[in-house]
Symmetry: C2
Subunit: 288 residues, 2 copies
């Protein structure tokens, strides 16, 4: 049970965390601090937050848990302003899609990693953003990855774990390096491909007709290209090495497909497509 | 109204055409010819066809409409066996995703393009294949592209148009060249990217963990990698020029993104992602 939760950033993820904790009766009061005043007012109007404040000190005061829920690139600036405000009895956590970059930002701001800091990444989202997109079932049965640091205290870890379980999530822990490698491949790369796909289509003659005649496959494929550009810019900049590595693996595979098409090698294409189908069918998620 | 329809290939598309015409009361009898005897028996058992025959001559006899619904690469062999059987009063049509290649195959088999041949491509499908995957609402409100040749008679065109409207589709006509360019970009390329994406993930260390932790975006993104490998091999081989061209456009865009990540150019990434989001949001399909 949390008495006061402070949300720094009341967007899709932070807002949905608030709504799911409220629905579970797990939090008494949620105070939101958001540099976007319009979004802050939306959060207040929709009950995503009980109170919004433009004063970070007031927003933090007396909080049990402080959740940084801003794009990864904004974490360091937020952390710097928290240094003088965060009390040892408060638990600090985040929701960033990249964990190495966030941990570096916190370390850089605080000088060392606070014991009460728990890096976290809920594997949930939609292509929408902002408080208006938040909803209370976003995390139901979704994986929540915690990547505790060497200094993270067991008490802080338990607080964050219990919070996410109350929000409906399935909590797991993972090393930072594994986390960032896995999500570069499964989440960051697909977003880049979707963005590139849409931009490539735009640059082709007949792009209007292309979008008019787009088949269902394309719409599923490019849905994630509607995602928040700031968030994904920051992911790219903060998970650079891992992303470059998976882009290279992907481009090598696509180049081989391209060469097979060029030389008319049906056997190669059939073998590669069959292998992909087999893999995809084996890992088909259980229908919800 | 069609008295007898002959289906050469009782898979997802042919089978769903049969079921939708039957539901509309638009066809009296559907006879299926399928070289896969197990699939033929499934088609019979599920009522996808009223009769199945291993004898093409018998299957064709007295047909009003003959639908070739096999992978594009198999069209030429089918067409060759039809030359001596097809009567001038029968209408011949197909369902291939590539139109230039199919038209060439028909011309090659018949020596010239028959007046009663109407190339067609229903823009509908799922990642499943075979008679068991067929269902009667697959074409509801879906676009059906007809690409009549210079020799296609207006009577044959009207017959195929009426058939697809009865099946629930929205019929449009388009030139062959435009068709093949548009679908290379909107359908063929996304399938290649999904296949490559899955294969790339498989080749990375920790691929089991990668699939375990796959987020929702990846599942939507790779759904089409479950599609029929034979069909897509044939599409690649028969729409070669157009596909190579769109792969090059895509790879150029992805290379630029890769370079921006490498040099840490957040402004470039933000601009490209914002542009893609704007385009995707503008062309968001109406929710069904």
């Amino acid at each position: 049970m949390i008495n006061k939760l402070t949300l720094i950033g009341a967007g899709l993820i932070g807002g949905s965390l608030s709504l799911s904790l409220k629905q579970a009766g797990y939090v008494s009061s949620v105070v939101a601090y958001d540099t976007d005043q319009e979004n802050a007012q939306t959060a207040l109007a929709l009950g995503v937050a009980d109170e919004v404040s433009e004063d970070l000190e007031h927003a933090i005061e007396g909080a049990d848990v402080v959740v940084i829920a801003v794009p990864v690139g904004a974490v360091e600036a937020v952390a710097k302003s928290l240094v003088s405000l965060l009390r040892p009895e408060m638990v600090l956590t985040d929701v960033g899609s990249v964990k190495g970059g966030v941990i570096e930002a916190i370390k850089s701001a605080f000088g060392e990693l606070p014991e009460n800091f728990v890096p976290a990444h809920p594997i949930a989202g939609t292509e929408k953003s902002g408080a208006a997109a938040a909803f209370n079932s976003l995390f139901n049965n979704k994986r929540i990855m915690l990547t505790p640091t060497e200094t993270t205290s067991s008490d802080a870890l338990a607080t964050v774990k219990n919070m996410w379980q109350a929000a409906g999530g399935k909590v797991e822990t993972l090393s930072v390096a594994k986390h960032d490698a896995i999500f570069a491949a499964t989440s960051h790369l697909p977003h880049l491909l979707a963005y590139s796909m849409v931009n490539a289509l735009t640059s082709i003659d007949m792009s209007e007709e292309i979008f008019t005649y787009a088949a269902g496959g394309l719409h599923d494929f490019t849905r994630i290209a509607s995602s928040n550009p700031v968030m994904w810019r920051d992911v790219c900049l903060h998970n650079r090495e891992q992303l470059l590595s998976v882009i290279d693996v992907f481009e090598k595979d696509l180049d081989q497909i391209r060469e097979a098409i060029d030389r008319g090698d049906g056997d190669y294409l059939f073998e590669r497509f069959s292998q992909a189908k087999k893999t995809r069918d084996t890992h088909e998620p259980v229908k919800k």
